[in-house]
Symmetry: C2
Subunit: 441 residues, 2 copies
């Protein structure tokens, strides 16, 4: 029955849609991330995907970024969320009276940015955020907790990372103490490019801001420092008595002690005074994470301290610190670089195949195995027995149980271990035992 | 510092946003549902929230339902998905060549319907869908698998349900055999209302369709039948030799045998020839689930068999059977009726409180407990020791460990079991043991 009015099925470009066998791995990894967040006693939040436009665009005074999915429905001017931070600010501002501070929340969910699609960029992607929000003040230990959370998360994902850490007040204070406070943003923009453009070009650009040659050297030298916390702190602490600068030094020292206390291995993090983080709202500690084995992936997780989460919505002062993993992009990179391990083609641990008129018995057995926490299904398909066995093999299902009419009578079943190529005739209890034993390994 | 330009933080109405302590329960329940789907070897799918309008609106020939969130961005005409079935159809049609059939997929995700907001209705809600798709044909056992999945799911959620099951071909075939095939939809509409309007009114409405009085009686009598499968099948099987009718009877008989084989308790499901299910695309088995203790909740889960999943997208014949739980609405009903049990106000199992200058030691201890899978955090807040202890108590955190300077020296710590009001001085290993033992209970 041919149909001439068929609509060609198409998916929007820039929207990830994995085949289910890859989705299993994706979900497992997200599950591990959430598990670490939970183990660190962060609370879940699930804000709507749609928000009022004036709320999401509060920062830019209502001006709508061209990347944002924006539309009207009825009388409502709506946007799809483009991050999880503004919805958090809105939630905290609405619920300040009932929240217990410090408020540790995580949110894992889709966000939407209608960028021009390009390799490795997604218009819909999953962010895994964790933030700690205080009221009036928040100890620097919260920053350490956040960095330790990054460490524990990537340890759970079995990915070797390096976390680069800095404190914005070091450069803010130093630039001020040299007398260039009004040029701070321009200086930071140039220093941010330093690894890309090199010292000579950075020097020229700084000079063009009418900064003394000696000061250009000083700024470049300071922002090129990276390595062990204690060594660098020792080296810079006498550089300036500017209050911001000294606060930055003290905070880095506390942070360093806390990170050691958490027992984060020393090769997982460094002090790197060259990291800047573009976003203006960071005000103290900043950090970014990369995979040293794949620096070309760029920053896979980042965050920092901000003075005031929700200044557009409330007069209450809500300092916080947070981190975010752009998981869809990271998964795509890992997948493209064959760093995800094997993909099992089925979630089944046991497939029961009827031979002859034994389907109902097979269904009964499957219930028994599922009650014992074995992922089990019956292949009730119309194909031949041989085709089913081949299929189970192709799908890497570890165990197959064959149930013929003799097996139903004798209650002794044929259990095939497809990985080890072993076949045994066992009663039900022994089948279960074999499977449980094998899966524990 | 007062700010006169504050924007009042607001959330869209009809969009659920739970306080985090309730979100924990919500997530736990969704996790249990997903776990059952996985144990039954369904594969995960995660389609985009946005789709091309002509794809989502294929069924209605492109006409856009007024409930759908619909807009343009750049050259693209877009919709937010309003269910998970059309995206599944689109996915299967696009990937027929690589999918292994029968394709068992689950999807748990948000869908969007801009209905007029009213009590218990949400514009954004989470659906938990599971479907089994065949190619060319699909055995009736798939229908039983789907119904067993409903049973296992609500068993995992600890909710007592009743699944009402029917087969549309019984009424289709019977109406045809009485000579009213052209009036089928009108007759079904009236019979669907039968429980509401009563037999007398149904009779009058049927009569107004110019149906013989005797046939009106017959139709009402048939659709009022509900109870044990075998009894009712025995009662009706001789009623008509219409092919559809007889196919319906045979399918119900197979289904009944399969459901018994799955060991679903007999009080969990009935044959109910009065259920109709409005949607036109169901073509065989249909089922709906309610809580007998709360019939006013209405249908909390429903589904059925359809002949062809993706007829708008492909010439291939893709019969399927599926079920769906509108979880956001169900959770809201359970919450409003105090059927969710206790809400722990924190995920923490152990809170460590420093007393004096012991913060770094506390951080170190917290890492030890988390490595041993205890959800543990340090309260590094600036409040007083007393306030922290009170807070842990209020939040129902089961264990608190107090670490003063003496404790650091002696390595004997004070562990308080807040539930049992017991306090012990123990070394680290014994603290862990006590906590693990208590949590196992």
């Amino acid at each position: 029955m041919s149909n001439n009015n068929l609509i060609t099925p198409r998916k929007l470009s820039g929207f990830m849609e994995l085949p289910p066998y890859k989705q299993i791995i994706f979900d497992n990894m997200v599950g591990k991330i959430i598990n670490v967040y939970k183990n660190n006693c962060f609370m879940p939040l699930n804000t709507p995907i749609l928000e009022y436009t004036d709320i999401l665009m509060a920062k830019s005074g209502g001006e709508i970024d061209k990347e944002v999915y924006h539309f009207s429905k009825g009388d409502n001017d709506l946007c799809m969320r483009y991050d999880l931070t503004v919805p958090l600010a809105r939630f905290v501002a609405m619920n300040t009276d009932t929240i217990s501070f410090p408020f540790k929340r995580y949110q894992v969910g889709k966000v939407f940015r209608g960028e021009r699609p390009q390799k490795g960029r997604f218009r819909e992607f999953i962010q895994c955020d964790a933030d700690i929000i205080g009221i009036d003040s928040l100890p620097i230990t919260a920053d350490a907790e956040c960095i330790n959370l990054i460490h524990e998360t990537f340890e759970a994902l079995n990915l070797d990372i390096l976390i680069s850490i800095s404190n914005r007040n070091i450069l803010f204070g130093y630039i001020d103490s040299l007398g260039y406070k009004d040029k701070t943003q321009n200086v930071l923009t140039i220093l941010d490019k330093l690894p890309k453009i090199g010292k000579e070009n950075a020097f020229k650009e700084l000079e063009s801001l009418e900064i003394d040659r000696e000061d250009c050297d000083r700024l470049i030298k300071l922002s090129a420092l990276k390595g062990d916390f204690k060594d660098i702190i020792e080296e810079i602490k006498g550089l300036s008595d500017n209050i911001l600068f000294q606060q930055g030094v003290n905070d880095l020292l506390t942070l360093s002690n806390n990170l050691e206390a958490y027992n984060i291995p020393k090769d997982k993090y460094i002090l790197n005074l060259g990291i800047i983080r573009g976003q203006n709202y960071y005000t103290g500690t900043i950090f970014e994470t990369l995979l040293p084995s794949h620096p070309e992936f760029g920053t896979i997780c980042a965050g920092g301290r901000y003075d005031n989460l929700a200044g557009y919505f409330t007069d209450k002062k809500l300092p916080g610190v947070g981190m975010s993993i752009g998981f869809t992009r990271l998964f795509d990179l890992l997948d493209n670089n064959e760093m995800l391990g094997n993909f099992p083609l089925s979630p089944a641990q046991l497939e029961i195949i009827p031979l002859g008129d034994t389907l109902d018995k097979c269904l009964e057995l499957s219930t028994f195995f599922r009650k014992n926490k074995i992922r089990c299904e019956v292949n009730y398909d119309n194909r031949s027995f041989k085709a089913k066995l081949k299929d189970a093999n192709k799908k890497d299902i570890p165990f197959v149980m064959v149930v013929g009419e003799n097996e139903v009578l004798s209650q002794i079943y044929t259990l095939k271990n497809m990985f080890e190529g072993v076949q045994e005739n066992l009663n039900l209890e022994n089948c279960l035992e074999r499977i449980q034993k094998f899966l524990k390994k």
